[in-house]
């Protein structure tokens, strides 16, 4: 059985005739330590799947299993514990606390996570050892995204969920961020799920899931993932 399994997962917004099925009988599996790229156009249901997987939203039906945890049966406090201990999030728009420095934003994660890693060390690993005392507005977009990744990594999560992590970045910076995510997956054996509409990212994934209209169109395992620097943007 896969580390992550989606079994006939549905998410319906609204009711009656205006109901929208954002996820429609979604079924797939992701193995532990894989870097999985979830690909699809706008409205395909990628973010819905990510939100359900991250415990930020509740499924209307089906079962989501992460390791030995059944996410779909968890109540709100359990979901919080799950997000706190098991999941790291990276957003398209970083969502850093403007009043905290880069290092403090990373420390924010350590405040609630007992198994957290050393924030200074993580900052070093993401290449921001010289920017630790800067506030988010003093950092470039790529640097902010790296802080966001460092914050997610600091929790030492089993699962790293990234929603369009390069969406707001230029190609060079995006490449650096993707390289960092690939290294994380390899170094920490962290399961990384990247949501993107950018098909050129797909070759770097151990697994590529293509979504269309709320359903899984394709789930392929990539035996030879490409290096980030080889990806053509």
């Amino acid at each position: 059985m896969s580390y992550i399994t989606f079994d006939k997962v549905c998410k319906v917004y609204g009711e009656g005739e205006s109901a929208v099925r954002a996820a429609d009988n979604v079924t797939f599996g992701i193995e532990k330590g894989e870097l999985c790229v979830v690909l699809g156009p706008s409205g395909a249901g990628k973010t819905t799947v990510l939100n359900l997987l991250g415990g930020m939203d509740k499924a209307s039906g089906g079962v989501i299993q992460v390791g030995d945890k059944t996410i779909t049966t968890m109540r709100s406090p359990q979901l919080t514990e799950y997000r706190r201990l098991d999941v790291g999030f990276v957003f398209q728009f970083y969502n850093l606390m403007p009043s905290l420095t880069a290092l403090e934003n990373v420390e924010l994660a350590r405040q609630v996570c007992p198994n957290a890693l050393d924030p200074v060390e993580i900052m070093r690993q993401v290449g921001l050892e010289k920017r630790m005392s800067n506030f988010p507005t003093q950092l470039s977009g790529g640097e902010q995204q790296r802080v966001s990744i460092a914050r997610a990594l600091c929790k030492n999560p089993a699962l790293l969920l990234c929603d369009e992590p390069t969406g707001a970045l230029d190609s060079k910076t995006g490449e650096q961020v993707l390289d960092l995510l690939a290294r994380v997956s390899k170094t920490y054996h962290t399961t990384v799920v990247i949501i993107t509409h950018n098909a050129s990212i797909a070759p770097m994934g151990d697994r590529v899931i293509r979504m269309l209209n709320g359903t899984i169109a394709e789930n392929t395992v990539n035996a030879n993932p490409a290096k980030v620097e080889d990806i053509a943007w």
């Binding site: 939100n51 930020m56 799950y82 997000r83 403007p98 905290l100 988010p136």
Partner: protein, 774 residues
């Protein structure tokens, strides 16, 4: 033209939808504008209502301009008074207190007996019939006194003076404009003291000892007063300014008038500040929409006018609601409280004053200008820039981080909160000022009560050293005879005489207290210490010094009743007593004046034995007993209407705090929803996020509340100095306990409101909140 109208309609639709979408914020603006005008129109309406009702009453009943008290008034005197230039009319009458033994030992009436039908100070008949000019058996009785003593028209009442009894049938129950407040000692007590009107012919042989006079329009009152004093040198002349009832009534009006300068200013300032912060946020949130409208080609004026309606509509609604609610609530409530002591025949509601309209307009104008300021801040940017969302406000280091040792000791959460506070300085400042004002008002409300209480209790429990006072009539014996007869820790006497004090061309009727040199029961010095009475001059109370402007060393004249020559003295001391406009003279000096022996008008006793109390109860010359503790309580009850204003302040302060804290809390919550959602995503429990919110609020609350303490004390002083009481010296007295209790109330209230806001945390939808920057 059609297209233009359509534009207008669309923008109008947008306006109403925006209002309904941001209902809470618009409601807050309505409430704050209403609060600003409510306080003003309420207090303005109050003093105008009391003034109009009282002045109309005075006018309709032809209230006297002068009361001239003499020993006896001849027909020639009356004619001479009439001939003074500027005098309109004069009526002679007898005025004096008479006992009513059938109603109880301590019950007495102030009797006015006119020679002819009263044309000056005309009584207002409430029931029964008027007195005929030849009726020597009938009387008109004070309505409140009759009610308190269960007397009615047709009953009889026995009046006793100098052991002569006269019985009268009550023909009618009346109100008198010269007795708007009927006070023998401290406060009205209709069960024991009232007034009655009889024909002078019924009082066989009693002299006409008072002339009441009215002036022609535009007459020179000071010149008339001088002429009266020249004609009747020994007369005690009272004007409307010194006539106790009229003066007290008008000083109440002045008090409420003065309050309109203090509180509305405060309410206006706070309202403007909150409206500023609310409207700024609202306009900031409309940033991209302003950009869209500009991009669509809408003219600047049209867009600006659209957004000015954000302020105009709710502020107009709020200001008008405040104006109307203020007019029909506060004045009626306070008038009813006032008239528990001040009896006026009818309540007359004045029209809305120009200043009330002006303040309403000012509130609207202020809001619109604030909105214009907020709009210009946004709209001056280029259209393209407006179409992009505003970048988040940058974080920065705070001052505290300079103190590394302190900063290092702070917890991570505290550091985060301190930085947040610093990052949102404007919003934090508004919240803090709101709490500051709230605490200031509560401290002021509590401080005023405490100050009044402290001043009154300082007199009755500090200055006054006796435990019982027994008032004596003119048949009283010498002080020594009582000292020999009575058993108490101390027996002293006081001789009180109403005299005319003349100084620097002015005159004033005041009470002169003559005390023996060795007296110990009136501690007249600073901090209630015993001080020797002046040997050659007189001493005056602090209030008298304040009113007259007299100071130590000033020459004065004292005219005793019936004398045709004044006695010259210098003011040798000013006594720091809190109550009373009084002159103090030593018994020795009195003896040197050869104006008769020292005859006590009251005995002051410290810890009398029960037997002594019994002896005094049996003594014919004792007219009343006064217990300082009871007098203290009575004095405090007359402050009821003032207390009502203080209670109103509590309400206003808490209302203000609620609107401010809730509004600011909501704005804060809305703006930081993204931050809270991020924390939720990171795995922070709701309890932890709520804890952070509470901690941040508590810090702001503590700062705001703390900063409000000193302004609260200053406001108390300002209000006390504007509350002109003719008889009392009020000094601000705000204890540490009051400051702590008031601050605790403010803090608890703020914490409660924040707790209500933190209940919204579970409703934060992480997915929605983090969807995009917009």
């Amino acid at each position: 033209m059609v297209a233009s109208n359509r534009h207008k309609n669309v923008l109008r639709k947008k306006l109403w939808r925006d209002i309904s979408r941001s209902a809470m914020q618009f409601v807050a603006i309505v409430l704050l504008c209403a609060l600003g005008t409510w306080v003003y129109s309420g207090l303005d309406g109050t003093w105008r209502m009391i003034e109009l009702s009282a002045e109309t009453y005075f006018q309709q009943t032809n209230l006297a301009d002068f009361w001239v008290n003499v020993v006896s008034l001849s027909k020639a005197d009356v004619d001479n008074l009439k001939n003074i230039r500027g005098v309109d009319s004069v009526q002679a009458r007898y005025t004096g207190e008479m006992d009513t033994p059938d109603l109880g030992e301590d019950v007495s009436l102030l009797v006015h007996a006119y020679q002819q039908t009263p044309q000056i100070n005309k009584p207002v008949l409430r029931s029964g019939e008027n007195l005929n000019a030849d009726d020597t058996r009938g009387c008109l009785l004070d309505e409140a006194f009759a009610a308190a003593n269960r007397l009615t028209v047709g009953d009889s009442v026995k009046l006793t003076l100098d052991n002569i009894d006269r019985t009268f049938v009550i023909r009618g129950l009346i109100l008198s404009s010269e007795q708007v407040i009927t006070v023998k000692d401290v406060m009205p007590d209709p069960a024991h003291y009232g007034y009655a009107l009889v024909n002078w012919q019924a009082l066989d042989g009693l002299p006409l000892n008072e002339a009441v006079m009215t002036l022609e329009n535009g007459a020179d009152a000071a010149a008339v007063e001088k002429s009266i004093q020249n004609l009747l040198p020994g007369a005690l002349v009272l004007t409307q300014k010194t006539h106790a009832s009229t003066q007290r009534m008008r000083s109440e009006v002045t008090m409420f008038h003065n309050l309109t300068y203090v509180f509305p200013g405060l309410a206006f300032a706070v309202a403007a500040m909150i409206v500023l912060s609310t409207l700024t946020r609202m306009i900031e949130n409309e940033r991209t929409q302003i950009g869209t409208l500009k991009a669509l080609g809408y003219g600047r004026t049209r867009i600006r006018n659209h957004y000015l309606n954000y302020a105009f509509v709710p502020s107009l609604a709020g200001a008008l609601i405040g104006l109307l609610v203020g007019r029909y609530t506060l004045p009626d409530m306070l008038y009813n409280m006032e008239t528990a002591h001040y009896i006026l025949p009818q309540k007359i509601r004045p029209p809305i004053s120009l200043t009330e309209w002006g303040m309403t307009g000012l509130m609207v104008l202020l809001s619109v200008l604030i909105c214009l300021y907020a709009y210009r801040k946004e709209a001056l940017e280029q259209t393209a820039a407006l179409l992009r969302p505003k970048p988040p406000r940058a974080g920065s280091r705070v001052f505290l981080e300079g103190w590394t040792s302190v900063w290092a000791k702070l917890s991570f959460n505290t550091k985060m909160i301190v930085r947040n506070i610093a990052r949102n300085k404007g919003r934090t400042a508004v919240a803090m000022v709101g709490l500051l004002c709230c605490n200031m008002l509560i401290i002021c409300a509590m401080g005023l009560q405490e100050s009044v209480d402290a001043c009154v209790s300082d007199y009755y429990q500090g200055t006054v050293g006796y435990t019982l006072r027994a008032d004596l009539d003119s048949t009283a014996g010498t002080l020594e005879s009582y000292q020999n007869r009575l058993s108490a820790a101390r027996v002293e006497g006081i001789m009180e005489t109403r005299v005319s004090l003349r100084y620097a061309g002015e005159s004033r009727a005041v009470v002169m207290n003559v005390l023996k040199e060795n007296q110990q029961l009136m501690r007249l010095g600073q901090n209630n210490t015993l001080v020797p009475l002046p040997k050659t001059g007189i001493a005056i109370s602090r209030k008298l010094a304040d009113i007259t402007g007299l100071k130590t060393g000033d020459p004065v004249q004292i005219w005793l009743p019936g004398d045709d020559k004044g006695l010259a003295f210098t003011v040798d001391a000013v006594y720091e007593t809190n109550i009373g406009q009084s002159i103090y003279m030593s018994g020795d000096l009195w003896d040197q004046l050869h104006k008769g022996a020292f005859q006590p008008t009251a005995l002051l006793l410290k810890d009398p034995t029960p037997l002594t109390v019994h002896q005094l109860e049996q003594a014919d010359e004792v007219t009343a007993f006064k217990d300082p503790k009871a007098q203290y309580r009575l004095t405090m009850t007359i402050m009821d209407s003032t207390t009502a204003v203080f209670n109103l302040m509590y309400g206003a302060a808490l209302g203000l705090a609620f609107v401010i804290c809730y509004n600011m809390g909501l704005i804060n919550f809305t703006e930081r929803t993204r931050d809270y959602a991020t924390l939720k995503v990171l795995g922070y429990h709701q309890k932890e996020i709520r804890g952070l919110m509470m901690w941040e609020n508590n810090l702001v609350t503590l700062l705001g509340t703390g900063l409000g303490v000193w302004p609260g004390v200053l406001l108390t002083q300002a209000v006390l100095s504007s509350v002109h009481s003719e008889n009392n010296v009020f000094i601000a007295h705000v204890s540490l306990q009051t400051m702590l209790v008031a601050s605790a109330i403010t803090c608890l209230f703020s914490i409660l409101i924040e707790w209500l806001i933190t209940r919204k945390v579970p409703s934060i939808n992480m997915v929605e909140a983090l969807k995009s920057v917009e």
